[in-house]
């Protein structure tokens, strides 16, 4: 499928990307997100762009179907009824599952995610999209208030505050993952005790997550 983005993509960064490329990007981010132990950088622009596309196609489709009479019926049936909504359905599924996977991680590691975001300087790319950040903050507050109301309030004074260091759910960044190399990278220090290795394109490796996380952010590798 090849949707032209000319009329909708005003975003500077993506103007030069075709729809297929945007889709590819989402697909890769989606798979990475599902396989990584912790949140990756948000791909909100991609999500927004694709959702907009879906909307456009669906609007066209519903207009088209109301005109779907007479001579054009067959063509419209072939083009709109079958292919495009089915494709948008697929895109929607990917987008939905992508954001869903992220929300689940946010719910699991709420405090950690908020902390991370706070220590970041203005230059670095945020892990959370603005909406995700709001969601995380609300979720955290809501849950903290609930625990306080139900339990902490009833405990001895010295135990009414929860030690963040203890209760924060930290993702296991040492977990092992499989990854595929997208472009050659030299001198990667996968294990501090071992000699650095060179990674060449199309190789598949297993490694701990943390040492290769930067490569993932630079999209030099992808998780498989």
């Amino acid at each position: 499928m090849d949707l032209s983005l000319d009329d909708t993509a005003n975003d500077d960064e993506y103007e030069q990307l075709t729809a297929a490329q945007v889709l590819e990007r989402l697909e890769e981010s989606w798979v990475n997100e599902r396989l990584s132990p912790y949140l990756l950088e948000t791909q909100q622009e991609v999500v927004d762009c694709l959702l907009e596309q879906c909307q456009t196609v669906e609007d066209n489709f519903s207009q088209a179907s109301s005109f779907a009479v007479g001579i054009h019926q067959l063509e419209i049936q072939a083009v709109s009824k079958n292919s495009e909504p089915r494709a948008t359905q697929r895109i929607k599924y990917m987008v939905t599952d992508y954001v869903r996977t992220r929300l689940k991680k946010i719910e699991k590691h709420t405090e950690y995610a908020l902390e991370e975001e706070l220590v970041k300087d203005d230059q670095s790319v945020p892990h959370l999209s603005p909406a995700e950040f709001v969601y995380a903050r609300e979720f955290h507050r809501n849950t903290r208030d609930h625990l306080t109301e139900m339990a902490l309030k009833h405990m001895p004074s010295a135990f009414q505050n929860l030690d963040k260091q203890k209760s924060m759910s930290v993702p296991n960044l040492n977990t092992f993952i499989f990854f595929k190399v997208k472009e050659d990278v030299n001198d990667v220090q996968v294990d501090p005790r071992e000699t650095p290795v060179d990674l060449s394109k199309d190789e598949i490796h297993i490694s701990k997550y943390l040492p290769i996380a930067p490569l993932l952010e630079q999209t030099k590798i992808k998780l498989v």
């Binding site: 779907a68 049936q77 009824k81």
Partner: protein, 547 residues
């Protein structure tokens, strides 16, 4: 109106949301399975409601038709006046694909809301429009004038006024047209040919169509000649599809023409049980007598088949015997006067293990479809699932139920004969199920009662030859409402044509004595009657058929 081009029908229903009402017959179900796959392929939204009778059809139509402008009736609706009974909205279209004949003439001639799909190849003998429908004399047009000229020429023949003569002729035509009811080509084959014309046919669809056709034949809806002709058509499709499939994968479905014995489910039973219970062999051996049992043993000995082997399940018989036994049976059967113990049929193979023959699958599906413990829709859906390739479990459940039904059939027939409950009135033979609720329930479904009726006719005629020229009738109280009985009838055994005058005769007899009756079923020779009216109905029927 009549639609000859089935493609036109399909084009019309594509792109709309369709309401599909399917009668709960195996043929209807198989037709639906094929149509359903086609609709999925073309992304057509639908609502499916299985219906088991006229009032059910009416209520389902009323509930669901408002939102659908296209309605398809499968294997039903042809022989009722759709415009009058179902009152479709004027801007809707009702397509009728029905194997029951004759069609109600109003469906054919009245307006263009109702469209009866009849492929050109069907030889449909329908009276001409102008012979049936009166026209306003004010605006007589060309054909009328022409007719008048013809009539003027004949004027000397009769002194009756033209109108009166026309009326008489009309009545005569109508009488002849509606006299006999029967079945046309199976609807599942019709839909299969639709798929074929669109190049969307495959072995799966053909297999479903074969089950539909087999239903028509084994349940005596069509005669032998018609079946043989149909098999020829099917055979061509089989060859074409087998040639086209270039895959040699074992999972590929492969259909094969094969000679099939008239022995129920023997592959899933023991040979002995099957020989004992199948109506064909049971009747001819008169298995319910001790002489009959001896004769069956003789028959087996004649083939050189040890009893031990026969009593084993078929699957655990010696390999060699299993392979050869069908041939032996055919040869030996001729010696015993069982000339037509086999008939041409089809079998399906896929994978290494899965081999089914049409007759067995038919039995499994119809056991599910007529299951007394499920309501109509649930039974239909169960049967539909049974037809799915992946549902071996359901097929086996169906086969087990079907075996149980075979046993009940034999028991009931034997009871009728032993207890001398079979009554010959002169123009017909009848029996009434007197048993307890259990039996009433087993035979609650009209199609099961019809099967019992045919079984009885076959068995009874084996002893009383002269009964072969008489129709058979069975009455049975409805298990849920003993105030009412169901009456079914089958045409005489000696008639090869499967057209029956019983439906019409039931109507007339009931009218004459003002009996309280309902003709719920789409099959005309099935009737519900108030139990207390039964006796006077039978009297009237005797009187009517005597003349």
């Amino acid at each position: 109106m009549i639609v000859n081009d089935i493609l036109e029908f399909y084009r019309d229903i594509c792109g709309e949301r369709v309401l599909i009402l399917v009668s709960t017959t195996v043929d209807g179900l198989c037709a639906w399975k094929i149509l359903q796959s086609l609709l999925h392929m073309d992304n057509v939204q639908y609502t499916l409601i299985p219906v088991d009778g006229k009032s059910h059809l009416e209520s389902a139509f009323r509930t669901h038709s408002d939102q659908n402008t296209v309605i398809v009736l499968i294997d039903c609706g042809g022989n009722i006046n759709v415009s009058e009974e179902l009152e479709p909205l004027p801007d809707s279209q009702v397509y009728v694909l029905d194997s029951h004949i004759p069609y109600d003439l109003d469906n054919i001639y009245d307006g263009d809301v109702v469209k009866v799909v009849i492929p050109e190849s069907f030889d449909l003998e329908v009276p001409r429009y102008e012979d049936i429908y009166e026209e306003d004399s004010e605006n007589e047009d060309e054909p009328n004038r022409k007719r008048r000229r013809e009539e003027e020429e004949e004027e000397e023949d009769s002194l009756l006024p033209r109108k009166e003569r026309w009326k008489r002729k009309r009545e005569e035509l109508l009488f002849t047209y509606y006299e006999l009811s029967g079945y046309n080509l199976s609807v599942s084959l019709m839909i299969f040919e639709l798929a074929w014309k669109m190049s969307k046919d495959n072995s799966q669809y053909l297999w479903w169509a074969i089950i539909g056709v087999t239903d028509q034949y084994l349940n005596c809806k069509i005669g032998r000649d018609q079946y043989v002709t149909t098999c020829g058509t099917v055979q061509q499709h089989v060859q074409r599809l087998n040639n086209h499939s270039d895959s040699t994968s074992v999972n590929q479905m492969k259909i094969k023409y094969s000679n099939e014995l008239r022995l129920d489910l023997y592959r899933h039973w023991s040979l002995m049980e099957s020989l004992k219970h199948s109506s064909y062999t049971a009747s001819r051996f008169r298995i319910w007598t001790s002489k009959g049992k001896k004769k069956l043993n003789e028959f087996l000995a004649d083939m050189g088949l040890p009893l031990l082997q026969c009593n084993q399940t078929f699957q655990s018989m010696d390999m060699e015997i299993r392979r050869e036994v069908c041939g032996w049976i055919e040869v030996t059967a001729q010696k015993y006067g069982l000339d037509d113990i086999s008939y041409g049929s089809f079998e399906l193979q896929y994978g290494f293990k899965n081999k089914y023959c049409a007759g067995d699958v038919l039995q499994a599906v119809s056991a599910a479809l007529t299951c007394p413990t499920l309501d109509t829709e649930a039974a239909f859906l169960r049967a539909q699932d049974t037809l799915n390739r992946s549902n071996e479990k359901l097929i086996h459940t169906g086969i087990e139920q079907s075996k149980a039904l075979c046993c009940s059939l034999l028991n009931q027939v034997q009871a009728f004969i032993d207890m001398k409950q079979v009554v010959c009135t002169g123009p017909f033979v009848y029996a009434v199920i007197q048993e307890g609720v259990a039996e009433l329930e087993v035979f609650a479904h009209p199609s099961r009662l019809l099967r019992l009726c045919r079984y009885l006719s076959e068995a009874y005629c084996a002893t009383t030859r002269k009964a072969a020229v008489l129709p058979f009738i069975i009455a049975s109280a409805l298990p849920l409402d003993p105030e009412y009985s169901c009456i079914v009838g089958v045409p005489p055994l000696s008639v090869d044509s499967n057209k029956s005058y019983l439906g019409r005769a039931f109507h007339q007899a009931a009218d004459k004595v003002n009996a309280s009756v309902e003709f719920e079923d789409f099959e005309p020779s099935v009737m519900q009657i108030k139990s207390e009216d039964k006796a006077k109905f039978f009297d009237a029927l005797t009187a009517l058929l005597m003349t």
